[in-house]
């Protein structure tokens, strides 16, 4: 609950009292309200925190008080010395009188400033943590590890006692939900209850930390901060393939990848020496930004939006310091400067928005084998050398003809297609050329890191197709001449595939036969046939070219205006989905010779072709790809990319740790800086997030911000101790989990007494164990696990459990979206794997406070609403779970109803019912049957609560 803040309310009452003390006499000027602003405006520049001319600091009482008479003289200009402020506008008479009156009345200067900036001591979170000694406590026997001594010391100071240890079954359910997000099975509970060995509990901790479900549970928390979703966001909100990143995170937790390594890979995995596929996939963290491809966008504007989003995610998720405000101006509270922000930004600003093919380890081995065998079969082909007969031309693009797609001119004369991707358009390219004669036209399709899988097309496979090419020409300096069509006599290309029907994803509802094939298809006058370049996996993402010989060369002494139309109609019916089949990066060249040919297709044999057919399709992942030529980064006035100010270089804010020695100021340097041993905030930030997951609220409640505006830490020394322990143990995440869950603090009973409710409603002091509703995903997972429906498979493409169809269709959704309900056990995968459309959040998860992935979220709300009740009562999958649980109970639950009820209770709640509970539910079973009983049980508060 976010609403109740009894402690803050108490603080709010206290402030007016202080104010009253400061205002003892009516005509006595108030320092904070009236005097300090004068000093601040006119004097601090030379007598403040940074500069102290003449050794005077007017922002410090002890420095200023002895010199008040001199100050009064100097500001009024009455003495023999020069009037202050030197070189500035003199104070007004009213101001001078005010200062005089204040001095005359005794210069009341409160020791604690009532408002604004105190004489600065560095904020605790900006000083690297040092391991504090665990405090001495009275009841040392209670403490199982140092965590407990910090907690107990505070409890003892508050005269509170810790709660007794929770019963074993409760504890195991709590532990299982915390470490794996799944309830324990009845067998696991029984085994634990029977185990009376001294290490019984620790054995459970070991077992659960080793479970592959551990990675799933803790990945979800990270994915919130990484704003993970399976679609682009904004209006089009197209599906994207990024589950490889999600699986990377799960595996990283399961492998217990040290946290500093985990962060490094996500910021700069691609820049590590001999980067593995996983390390490159990890940069998907930065690519989880939304992409706007609605019609008419300026791609650079939304690249910048994505950059701001990345900065925000690094700030909240890793740094634990708010940096977003300094996007527009120097931060009002935290010491981060406007320029600091753009210096950090400069580290990230040098990448292309790439995507790469990804393969399973088995597929990777297979590819290596195929490549090895191909090497022995394929003859080396001589490198292309530039043919001097071709002249690259730089066309003007007719805006209307692009269907909203942007063709961005590149330095090499090519045009890169970005932004909205219409499924059908006919781009008009106009070239004014001084060439006297043009006999052949070359069209190159070039690869580019910003295209899907590197291009050269814009389809999700990086392919494209050319339906028709048409050429028109007119003399250069003849305004009256109408461009006349020039026939194409012959076309050649370096790839000519057999005629193949367009893939289903390009279906356009026309019922026409639509195909791709050889280059002749681009000059046959038939729109339904197109030149295709999809040579299959392993060979489709490479540059291609076609050459068109004109029937009659275009010859004009003064040069010509040549218009080339490239019709691209091979896409599907829905431009709001991934159905475009457009060319991605094109370059046109002219030559006078009328008979030039495209480079020859690569020689091949049936054996070679057979090998390529074995090449795995794989999946893809959005990644970052470092640019060879750095982008210039500017400070942006008010964060507006249209208002670039001075150029800035990569650098880090002075109040944080210095940049480690590195050769290049790139993302890798940034990553090393973020997780350096002397970095003050990242270790604190992450252990605080872990703590938040266990106890509901972090040691610092504002998990996204440990900066000067953060809420006060409940146990500041414990936070530092954990952060140092974390780093000393080589950033070992599981070690921190083990420490926390084996503490006496964690193992307490979570019951709330009226006294505790009154003293500490949010359990900040931890005089009891945590008790709160589990996260949305676990609400679903509990129902699936308890009913036996759960498919525990780890990883893979996201799944589509039941969801109301209308949500994915207009007028609810902007565009028609595909939601093919998963069949079989796929519908019962853990909720972590549910496909996440940003613009249409999965209703069950949304009802229970899942973030949408629009921006980084490191602290979820925890609401309790009627829509949640409707969901667990009536949503189809919850009903399926109730039915399955009932069926299982009847089949396996034992001979009589009491046994059956016990069976069900243990599956759902890991315990047996009390007598009154049994009476209640046996009556329901008798009257309405076991499905209704199961439904009641799955809807209990206790069921979806960790206690």
């Amino acid at each position: 609950m976010e609403m109740l803040r009894p402690k803050l309310r108490a603080a709010a009452v206290a402030i007016p009292l202080l104010v009253l003390v400061g205002l003892s006499a009516q005509n006595k000027p108030d320092y904070a309200r009236e005097i300090r602003p004068i000093f601040e405006n006119s004097c601090y520049g030379c007598h403040g925190e940074k500069v102290q001319s003449g050794g005077l600091r007017l922002d410090q009482k002890q420095s200023a008080i002895p010199k008040l008479t001199a100050i009064q003289e100097r500001i009024s200009g009455t003495g023999s010395k020069a009037r202050m402020p030197l070189g500035g506008a003199p104070l007004s008479a009213a101001q001078i009188n005010l200062v005089k009156a204040w001095i005359d009345s005794g210069a009341d200067w409160p020791d604690t400033p009532l408002t604004g900036i105190a004489p600065k001591k560095k904020h605790w979170a900006f000083v690297p943590p040092v391991r504090p000694a665990a405090p001495i406590v009275k009841d040392a026997r209670w403490a199982r590890n140092p965590i407990d001594r910090f907690v107990l010391a505070k409890l003892e100071a508050e005269a509170l006692n810790p709660s007794p240890e929770a019963p074993k079954a409760t504890l195991l359910r709590r532990l299982s939900l915390d470490l794996t997000g799944l309830p324990p099975t009845p067998e696991e509970v029984d085994a634990f209850l029977k185990d009376n060995s001294p290490r019984a509990y620790e054995k459970q901790v070991d077992r659960l930390l080793a479970s592959p479900h551990y990675g799933e549970k803790w990945a979800r928390q990270w994915l919130d901060g990484a704003r993970y979703a399976d679609s682009d966001g904004y209006e089009k909100d197209k599906p994207r393939l990024v589950w490889a990143y999600r699986d990377y995170v799960i595996n990283a937790f399961n492998k217990n990848l040290p946290y500093n390594q985990f962060v490094t890979e996500q910021i700069a995995g691609d820049l590590l020496p001999n980067a593995t596929q996983d390390q490159k996939v990890a940069t998907g963290f930065l690519r989880n930004s939304m992409i706007n491809e609605e019609g008419g966008v300026d791609p650079e504007q939304f690249r910048m939006e994505a950059m701001f989003d990345r900065m925000d995610a690094v700030g909240k998720n890793i740094l634990g310091v708010t940096i977003q405000c300094s996007q527009c101006h120097t931060h009002k509270y935290d010491p981060i400067q406007h320029e600091d922000y753009y210096r950090l930004f400069a580290f990230l600003n040098n990448s292309d928005e790439g995507s790469m093919a990804v393969y399973t380890p088995a597929e990777q081995a297979k590819i290596a084998d195929i490549r090895r065998r191909l090497k022995s079969l394929e003859k080396p082909v001589s490198e292309d050398t530039a043919d001097p007969r071709w002249t690259v031309v730089r066309p003007e693009v007719d805006d209307i003809s692009t269907g909203g797609q942007r063709y961005l001119p590149q330095p090499d004369g090519s045009l890169l297609a970005q932004g909205y991707a219409p499924t059908k358009h006919n781009v008009k390219l106009t070239i004014k050329t001084p060439l006297k004669s043009v006999g052949s036209i070359r069209l190159e399709l070039l690869t580019d890191p910003n295209l899907p899988l590197g291009g050269p097309g814009r389809s999700i496979k990086g392919t494209g197709a050319l339906s028709e090419i048409k050429v028109e020409a007119a003399p250069m300096n003849d305004a009256a001449a109408k461009p006349a069509e020039i026939k194409i006599a012959k076309a050649t290309a370096d790839i000519n595939l057999p005629e193949t029907p367009l893939e289903p994803m390009f279906a356009d509802k026309s019922n026409k036969k639509r195909t791709t094939g050889p280059i002749e298809f681009a000059v046959d006058g038939v729109e339904e046939t197109a030149w295709g370049i999809d040579a299959g996996p392993g060979r489709r993402n490479q540059p291609r070219e076609a050459v068109f010989n004109l029937a009659t060369p275009i010859t004009n002494e003064e040069g010509s205006v040549i218009i080339v139309y490239l019709k691209q109609n091979a896409g599907g019916w829905n431009s709001d989905d991934n159905q475009n089949n457009n060319l991605g990066r094109i370059r046109l060249s002219f030559a006078a010779e009328p008979n030039l040919q495209a480079r020859a297709p690569k020689p091949t044999t049936p054996e070679i072709e057979a090998l390529w057919k074995e090449y795995p399709e794989g999946s893809s992942q959005l990644v970052l790809h470092e640019r060879a030529t750095p982008r210039e980064t500017h400070l942006l006035t008010r964060g507006d990319f249209l208002q670039p100010a001075k150029v800035v270089t990569p650098g880090v804010p002075a109040f944080l740790n210095p940049l480690p020695q590195t050769e290049t100021l790139n993302r890798l340097a940034l990553a090393k800086w973020l997780v350096a041993r002397d970095a003050p905030t990242p270790a604190r930030s992450y252990v605080n997030r872990i703590w938040q997951a266990y106890f509901g609220i972090g040691i610092v409640e504002t998990a996204e911000d440990l900066g000067t505006q953060s809420s006060p830490a409940s146990h500041p020394e414990l936070l530092d101790w954990l952060a140092v322990e974390f780093m000393d143990r080589n950033w070992d995440v599981k070690a921190i989990h083990r420490l926390i869950v084996t503490s006496a603090t964690y193992r307490q009973l979570s019951n709330v007494t009226p006294e505790l409710e009154a003293r500490d409603p949010y359990n900040r002091l931890l005089a009891r164990g945590p008790r709160f509703r589990v996260e949305s995903e676990i609400v679903r997972d509990i129902a699936l696990a308890a009913s036996g429906l759960l498919d525990g498979k780890i990883g893979g493409p996201s799944v589509n459990p039941p969801s109301p169809a209308f949500l994915y269709l207009p007028p609810t959704s902007y565009g028609p979206k595909v939601w093919n309900e998963s069949k079989g056990s796929e519908r019962y995968r853990r909720a972590l794997y549910t496909f996440r459309f940003r613009s249409v959040p999965y209703p069950m998860l949304q009802a229970f406070d899942s973030p949408t992935g629009d921006s980084s979220c490191v602290r979820r709300a925890r609401s309790n609403t009627p829509l949640q009740a409707l969901t667990t009562l009536n949503e189809p999958l919850f009903l399926e779970a109730a039915k399955a649980l009932a069926a299982k109970t009847q089949a396996e639950g034992g001979a009589d109803d009491t046994h059956r009820l016990n069976f069900m209770y243990k599956r759902v709640l890991s315990r047996e019912p009390s007598k009154p509970e049994a009476t209640e539910l046996l009556a329901v079973a008798g009257k309405h049957g076991w499905t209704v009983v199961a439904r009641v049980l799955l809807n209990l508060d206790e069921t979806i609560t960790k206690e």
Binding site: M3, Y234, G296, E305, D854, A861, S863, L867, N874, N939
Partner: protein, 457 residues
């Protein structure tokens, strides 16, 4: 639901509610409990008719004889300095307004012939011709209009209002969203999201056919009696567990389940417009069982009557890059009568005084032509909205764009100013309705916004 079962569950419910009331003394405070604003409000509720896609001010409200005169010529180059557009080369020819305007009502407001029904209530509304925004793409524009920022992730105005005022309905969500037209809004669910505010404040999508709220109906095999008895069991077991654990949050859960049950009957009752008189249905042009903007307008009134704080109706249809005349005519036919009926109906039921109605899209359209002869591109520099009721001065036209309808030249109202004014009418100082997040207080108007005094009655 038949009469017997209704009576039955009402009786059961009363028993249930008694028990719940006793328990709720222990519960954490309800984040939706009604709260007083900063000062005496004029409006208690808001109905926002969001004309998504961005209607052309030049065809509907902002007649420009000079634009008509210069139709087919290039705009003055100085006007285009630094101008960014979505699709067209800004250097496209000017396109005169496609319709002949007339003056209506006592106020003499100028209107298109496409809005004959609005013409009959023109003295009840304030037309704001000086609107400006910062965005010229749909999704960012809609998100800005809703949250005060182009970046996704901020709370929507409905969430802010619900956060500030709480809910007066115990049976329905405080913030309800409907959608009609060709598509859903470009901004998706972020248009009514709660951003960093607690999720209880986010808008709840209602559907005008089928279950109005997701998962409202009992699943197959569960009738009302089983549902009620199940809920009673759930409640009793939850109460037992609350006694055992002492956690007041359980009482909140019990309350949530009881409200869910009440919604199961109150939401269908709300949606059942067959209970409205024939005359009312005809006033709106609403047809029971046939989802439409008209039905949604009527439902908006019914929601406000039932204490729902913020109702937003999206009609995404106004993106006339081409076929401007045909499509804008259709859109007006689909929306004009119902929007005007809403004003009349609220007025005659006395609700208009306390209900602020706002009509408009995310930006305007270019005075320049796009495509053949009949389309306009996105334009953020000038557009028109109208407001009515809830303390708005009726019968006025505020603001003026230049002779081409390109820039605002008088009484400019930025989206932030609209938000500030809206909050003012609800009794809030927009600079003080804040929520602390990431170390600083955030507000709907961020660091901007001025109350537009001329619009206040």
């Amino acid at each position: 639901m038949n009469a017997i079962s209704r009576r039955w569950f009402l009786e059961q419910c009363r028993v249930g509610l008694g028990a719940v009331a006793a328990q709720s003394l222990l519960a954490a405070p309800d984040p939706l409990a009604p709260k007083a604003p900063h000062f005496a409000p004029k409006a208690k509720n808001i109905i926002f008719l969001f004309m998504a896609g961005a209607p052309s001010h030049l065809e509907l409200f902002d007649d420009k004889p000079m634009l008509r005169k210069f139709d087919g010529t290039l705009p003055p180059p100085e006007l285009l300095k630094g101008y960014r557009s979505a699709f067209i080369n800004p250097n496209s020819r000017l396109l005169g307004p496609k319709f002949e305007f007339k003056k209506y009502g006592q106020s003499g407001a100028e209107l298109t012939p496409l809005l004959p029904h609005l013409a009959t209530v023109v003295d009840d509304i304030a037309i704001v011709k000086g609107m400006v925004t910062d965005a010229f793409n749909h999704a960012p524009g809609q998100v800005l209009m809703n949250t005060g920022a182009m970046q996704f992730g901020r709370p929507s105005m409905g969430s802010w209002v619900t956060y500030g005022l709480g809910s007066e309905s115990r049976n329905l969500p405080a913030f309800v969203v409907f959608s009609s037209g060709k598509k859903g809004p470009s901004g998706g669910s972020s248009c009514w999201g709660s951003g960093f505010l607690p999720t209880v404040y986010q808008g709840v999508e209602f559907r005008s056919a089928g279950d109005p709220v997701l998962y409202l109906s009992n699943p197959e095999g569960i009738d009302t009696q089983i549902q009620r008895e199940s809920l009673d069991s759930i409640r009793r077991l939850n109460e037992m567990h609350q006694t055992a654990t002492g956690d007041p949050e359980i009482a909140t859960r019990i309350n949530s389940f009881e409200m869910a049950f009440r919604m199961q009957s109150s939401a269908p009752e709300l949606m059942d417009i067959t209970k409205e008189s024939k005359e009312t249905l005809e006033l709106y042009g609403a047809k029971p069982g046939k989802p439409s903007f008209a039905n949604n307008c009527l439902l908006a009134r019914r929601l406000v009557e039932r204490g729902v704080r913020f109702v937003q109706l999206y009609h995404e249809a106004w993106d006339q890059h081409s076929a401007l005349v045909k499509d804008i005519t259709t859109n007006c036919k689909d929306t004009d009568q119902a929007a005007a009926a809403l004003i009349k109906d609220l007025k005659r039921t006395g609700l208009l005084d306390s209900t602020l109605v706002i009509w408009g899209g995310e930006f305007g359209r270019t005075p320049m032509l796009q495509g053949g002869q009949d389309g306009r591109d996105h334009h953020p520099n000038a557009f028109t909205m109208w407001m009515a009721g809830g303390g708005i001065k009726p019968g006025i036209t505020l603001g003026e764009s230049d002779d081409l309808g390109f820039n605002v030249v008088k009484d400019k109202v930025h989206v932030h100013d609209l938000h500030a004014t809206m909050l003012h009418l609800l009794g809030f100082d927009h600079t003080k309705l804040t929520y602390k997040f990431q170390g600083r207080p955030f507000r709907l108007t961020d660091v901007h916004g001025q109350v537009v005094k001329q619009l206040l009655a």
